[in-house]
Amino acid sequence: MDKMINLQNLSKAFGETKVIRNISFTIEKGEVLSIIGPSGSGKSTMLRIITQLERADDGMLEVDGDTLFRSIDGKAVYDKENERKIGLKTGLVFQSFNLFPHFSVLRNVTEAQKAVLKRGKAEAEDKAMALLRKMGLEDKAKMYPYQLSGGQQQRVSIARALALDPKILFFDEPTSALDPELTREILHVIRGLAEEKMTMAVVTHEMHFAKAISDNAIFMDGGVIVEEGTSLFSDPKEERTRKFIASFENE
């Protein structure tokens, strides 16, 4: 029972296009998994299935010991009872931040605590301020998202996700909308979380970063896992992995 994520034989198609083909992997508690791969390989779709923004077609998924769906007669059958429970255990940080523009920074971080977890105002605000402080944003609490830089907005969105005490946090290209300097800001934050043993799965194109923080890594292409293990960064076994990694070398 040390697995945070146990995903087996996941498949997903959009219409006729198979986007995920029979993917399996596990994430141990406290582990950081990085997911790399070319555009259209199904990385986002996979995260979106685990965070319940998309439905699986077939396969089995357990999150922290609870089953979200299992395969029955070649179809993913969801366990309705667990959907919400698992949803509360998983957090997702988007590439485009998706902060709520009409809420202040503080309210972005307190709203779900109050409305979803039913925490009191004082408790939610204490929690939010502690997280904002951790993100180096305590002086921005009263501002609105449009007044912040992209890096600051992304840090708010990380605080917003952490405020609900997720068991595992997913990142979908959290730095792709940011310039190199702001990217470093965010990578620094994620690295800090890794040091605290936060369980995370990160889709990223930052190879050096991924190599540095990952306990495990998967390389996806065409909806399948081509190669798994952190050795794929330094010593890729598969030709496709080698080519992909090499394309980042001259950056």
């Binding site: 319940q52 949803g87 997702l92 998706n98 709520f100 449009y146």
Partner: protein
């Protein structure tokens, strides 16, 4: 003179009643229509679409006449002019408001819904606390235009004999061989719309704290 002022006041009250009753019913009904136009259930979407096309594609005058006379020809029963007038205005304006709401709803980034879902907000909570406030801000300018048009459109109610301000003014003008009553009516529409546009300006300013 005193009776003229009394008549014009009564006409003004009638115009204002048309205005407020239309808003009272069509602002919320427009939401229902917008939902109908956005549903995945095809027959409902088609019917809603046809309804909006007809309301936008034909003159309001014609719709007023239709709603006043149709019940008589169909059921052999007639109802009072004022009610017919309100029905026509509400049915017409709901269609216009629906299109405004729809464009507002569609302008909200999908990421807002997804972030709300991942954070565990329920659908109603997401609608009322995340989506709706942003929609209201987005549609304010279009809504303002439509409400200003409504103020002027109330004058069309005279087509089916409702004694609203403009009809009273016209009658008074021809009786007294003077255009002054019509100018007084014009002043009313101007002042009314001045107030409406000020109110919308204030609302837009209030919502200006974020982008």
């Amino acid at each position: 003179m005193a009776s003229l002022i009394m008549q014009m006041l009564e006409g003004t009250v009638t115009s204002l009643r048309i205005f407020f009753l239309t808003l009272l019913f069509s602002l919320p009904l427009g939401f229902v229509v917008a939902k109908g136009k956005m549903t995945t259930i095809r027959p409902i979407r088609w019917i809603t679409d046809l309804y909006i096309q007809i309301m936008r594609g034909t003159p309001l005058i014609l719709q007023l006449i239709f709603f006043y006379f149709a019940p008589f020809y169909i059921f052999g029963a007639s109802y009072d002019r004022f009610t017919a007038c309100i029905v026509a205005f509400v049915v017409n304006y709901s269609a216009y408001f629906a299109e405004i709401y729809r464009s507002g709803l569609q302008s909200i980034d999908r990421g807002q819904h997804e972030a709300a879902k991942v954070l565990g907000f329920t659908k109603p909570y997401t609608f009322f606390h995340i989506v709706l406030p942003q929609v209201i801000k987005k549609i304010m300018p279009a809504l303002g235009n439509e409400v200003i048009t409504l103020v002027k459109d109330t004058a069309l109610a005279q087509t089916i004999g409702v004694a609203e301000l403009f009809r009273v003014a016209q009658t008074a003008s021809s009786r007294q061989f003077s255009t002054i009553p019509i100018f007084i009516a014009g002043l009313f529409y101007f002042v009314m719309n001045y107030i409406v546009s000020r109110l919308f300006a204030v609302a837009e300013k209030k919502l200006d704290y974020y982008r």
